[in-house]
Symmetry: C2
Subunit: 315 residues, 2 copies
């Protein structure tokens, strides 16, 4: 049985995470509105705790656990934002987080996870190694596994960003969000359909990691054949659960080039003076490449995160 | 006679520019509060129009002109933010701006000034050439000269940022702002003394361009002996007017190293996910170098601008 969150689950998630997560601001930019001939509303999840919307999902999952479930802590494998998000959520609940990280993870991310008090186990940088080591950690500690996106409570948490955005700007014609494993887009879709049944939902993916695009076209889950993209947060693949949600909520997927992702990221830095990560720039890339028809529309854009290595900028 | 703006002038400026300028947000950052043991409130003028608080001063000056004065346009020399600010303010009033720019100005800044419809005259990159060419332009066009900081209406306009900040956070113990020609610090001082007579006022300057520091210590205007600093917005020198205001409003000046400016800029990008320019980072540099005693205090910080060449980052 596939547990799929409902609109009510997202409303409950919003209540649950309210004491811990930021209600992030919605930014606008006259220059970009003029350039794209639309009214754009940016939900700034780069300002979220740990610098990414991922905190919403991790926080909702951790605080949804019963006392009994939470007692032995939580565990996941992640090299990125979910690791920090789960570590902080666990710290806030006062339980232990066990994070399996590939040994080649960025030092700054390892440091952040350590700072939040998580126990880190390093592994070889392959998906197989990550899953094997995580299984061992769960076996040994009894911690509850919190998957980064294939988890109904995580998805419900991610949906709270779109919920807040639509509360603030109710007349959106469209919402755009990045797609990787499909967690945020799934949460966004459920939240948006609950409040605005006819809204257009556009997920954006790098061409270089386009499994969601191909899966929705084929009508069945297609494997990720490669994931060499600068958008390092978008290298995961849909699960049965997120695929089902995207299909049943009438989400369209468009893909964008690496060059457009870099240009989009730079455009936001220069024009809006905010730092977003490459994964958050795919939506802007879709506008730059005219992949979406937005002329005259009121468009919400989920800027998913702002964690960038300033020593390795792509320009 | 030295025309010095009063607190009432700043209140009038706030009314005057309200239809044109952004009321910028005040940001906080739990990580930085913890690190510095204080409550920090950042007035985000990097989100101001043209990406800098300079727009407030230029806008107030342009809209303070009578119809008769405004008829023949406005003029200034500037390679940076004041050029764009004056060009946009003039465009909004529907009058011509004449900008004298050094021929080695950044291409992106020249493009911005052109985009706003200003007439640009290029000159050699020396102060003498700038002033000579500007005098010719004023002679020829009859435009009104709007000095970047030695102008009472400009100073009054700059003060509106501190006015908004104190309206929002009335219990500040201290306000910090960068010092160059002293326009923003002067405006800040007048606004702050009007609302909070006992507030501490700290201006921050690069060690490499420390004329304000030396002038206030000496009790007389000291010349700028060098200005080779990464904080390219802080290379100007106090005028008799701004010197007088800083003295009579009990402003302290501290100086900071180039390394600390770079570290401060990076810290804000990484932790707050916002883009600030080196000139805006001097206040953070002062905290990093323990130049100011802020422990337990409630501190307002004017983040003056966010215009950075992303191709020439200092790390």
């Amino acid at each position: 049985m596939l547990e799929i969150p409902t609109f009510e689950d997202i409303q409950e998630a919003a209540e649950r995470i309210r004491p811990y997560a930021h209600r992030t601001p919605v930014f606008t930019c006259a220059t970009l509105n003029e350039r794209f001939g639309a009214r754009l509303f940016f939900k700034c999840e780069n300002f979220q705790k740990v610098g990414a919307f991922k905190f919403r999902g991790a926080c909702n999952a951790v605080f949804s656990l019963s006392e009994e479930e939470a007692r032995l802590g939580v565990a996941t494998h992640s090299s990125g934002n979910h690791a920090a998000a789960l570590a902080l959520a666990a710290k806030l609940r006062g339980i232990q987080a066990h994070i399996v990280m590939p040994e080649n993870s960025a030092k700054i991310k390892i440091a952040a996870v350590k700072d939040y008090g998580a126990a880190i186990t390093f592994c070889k940088p392959t998906l197989e190694a990550r899953e094997t080591v995580l299984a061992e950690v769960v076996e040994k500690t009894g911690a509850i596994l919190i998957h980064p996106y294939d988890n109904a409570q995580v998805i419900a948490g991610q949906g709270t960003a779109a919920l807040e955005l639509l509360e603030e700007i109710p007349d959106l014609d469209m919402i755009m969000a990045p797609v990787s494993g499909g967690g945020p887009m799934s949460g966004t879709a459920i939240a948006a359909r609950g409040l605005a049944p006819r809204i257009e939902l556009i997920g954006v993916e790098p061409e270089a990691a386009d499994d969601a695009y191909r899966s929705l076209r084929a009508g069945e889950l297609m494997p990720l054949t490669s994931s060499i993209t600068i958008a390092d947060g978008l290298r995961a693949t849909l699960s049965e659960r997120t695929f089902t949600i995207l299909r049943t909520h009438d989400c369209s997927i468009v893909t964008v080039s690496e060059a457009a992702i870099i240009e989009g990221m730079r455009l936001i830095w220069e024009r809006m003076k905010i730092v977003i990560e490459p994964s958050a720039a795919v939506t802007i890339a879709a506008l730059l490449e005219n992949k979406v028809s937005i002329s005259g529309k009121c468009v919400g854009i989920i800027l998913s995160g702002g964690n960038v290595d300033l020593n390795q900028l792509p320009w």
